[in-house]
């Protein structure tokens, strides 16, 4: 079923706000990892704490989240992650 197909991506960050090495942090400076799950319906990303020495992501330490529905927001401009945490997704952005 095409809906079950998933693509995973990830990206590291040195801090929660943009800084000179945000684009390309060296391993030792990585503090956050953004893990994305993509299907043909949505893209869901959580930015979680990351330990570069143990190579461990801490999924209970969520720094931020992103959720975009492909049908209602194909350009991914309306992040509804926070809404989704409280179950109040605006009808205009529902899939």
């Amino acid at each position: 079923n095409p809906r079950e197909l998933v693509a995973y991506s990830q990206y590291p960050r040195p801090a929660d706000t943009p800084q000179w090495n945000s684009d390309n942090p060296s391993l030792k400076d990585i503090k956050v990892m953004g893990y994305s799950i993509r299907t043909i319906d949505y893209r869901y990303t959580v930015w979680v704490g990351f330990d570069p020495h143990e190579f461990l992501a801490n999924f209970s330490d969520i720094h931020a989240g992103e959720l975009y529905f492909v049908d209602s927001d194909p350009l991914q401009d309306h992040n509804i992650y926070n809404y989704s945490q409280h179950g109040e997704i605006p009808p205009s952005l529902m899939p």
Binding site: P18, I40, H78, N79
Partner: protein, 422 residues
Amino acid sequence: TDALNVLLIIVDDLRPSLGCYGDKLVKSPNIDQLASHSLLFQNAFAQQAVCAPSRVSFLTGRRPDTTRLYDFGSYWRVHAGNFSTLPQHFKENGYVTMSVGKVFHPGISSNHSDDSPYSWSLPPYHPSSEKYENTKTCRGQDGELHANLICPVDMADVPEGTLPDKQSTEEAICLLEKMKTSASPFFLAVGYHKPHIPFRYPKEFQKLYPLENITLAPDPEVPDSLPAVAYNPWMDIRQREDVQALNISVPYGPIPVDFQRKIRQSYFASVSYLDTQVGHLLSALDDLQLANNTIIAFTSDHGWALGEHGEWAKYSNFDVTTRVPLMFYVPGRTTSFPEAGKMLFPYLDPFDSASQSMEPGMQTTDLVELVSLFPTLASLAGLPILPPCPVPSFHVELCREGENLLKHFGSHDLEEDPELRG
């Protein structure tokens, strides 16, 4: 019964801004022609939107959390595990494997050797003119030479009178001519540098994209709801002289809109220049009568943001930076064999408007990942199938963390491939 050759074309920082992906503006007739004879994946995604981690991931068939390469600073065989690579698998199964241009990312992440001797039968080729890529070779309006982001060049004006991708195409054609008479099958990987920055291309390609036809990105503002951690501040292009001169505020910019359009114009011009290089390579393969027994895979290491969400460059999890072109031409499987004497890949000139429309080939919208390239190419060539990796798999030299995409190539493969029959 003869083994199929493999030509793997990897394009640096190419997003699916191509005619065969529905882009109405970009002129890419040679890549579109390849697509018309291929299976094209509309939704293929890289595992990390930056060069070395993405390339090591798809060339080993492992995810970044297994290669443990998120930057440019480690070599997986030392740092994570002695994972076999895609070319190594072919080399160990009787192929002559060759690398031209940027296949592995140069430097520590490929052991300063493009992972030779493991991956390659011959010393990897790097174009001599690459050393000028980031030097002052861009003539500014002041008539002086600068190290700019936007760098249309007069070929008579550039050092050595050539550009890296032109040299790579010449070298690849040379190797094809040599392999034509070889008893062994070949695996040739050609890594093109453009449209990676700087946008340094023969200036005539700018004429294909008159500035008045270039729009801004459909969503050029940084979205209010975007978490600050998700935003990429595009620090690399800010180092270029022409961008520095704009005094753009850090981290959110914005870039003045006329310069935004110039960046987009030069990215597209670089894509059309690259398309001509692919066209020369494929028409040479055809001229050498190798198209009927060579699999061609075409992809890139990640995409590139052209102003969407107020971002430029890669370095993020957005679709515009992770989605990549991915297509496979398999003789007799994705297209029927041409009549005798007919060419499948005649060179098409992007300046010739007649060479624009192209019949699409096989396509699928199913979501796939770049990490599936290795197991899929190995299967298409009839090599031993890669088993799924256990978790963790640091101790396993040969396995796959991606899917084998063979099922997308048509049902008759199911009988041939026991792994897929289930």
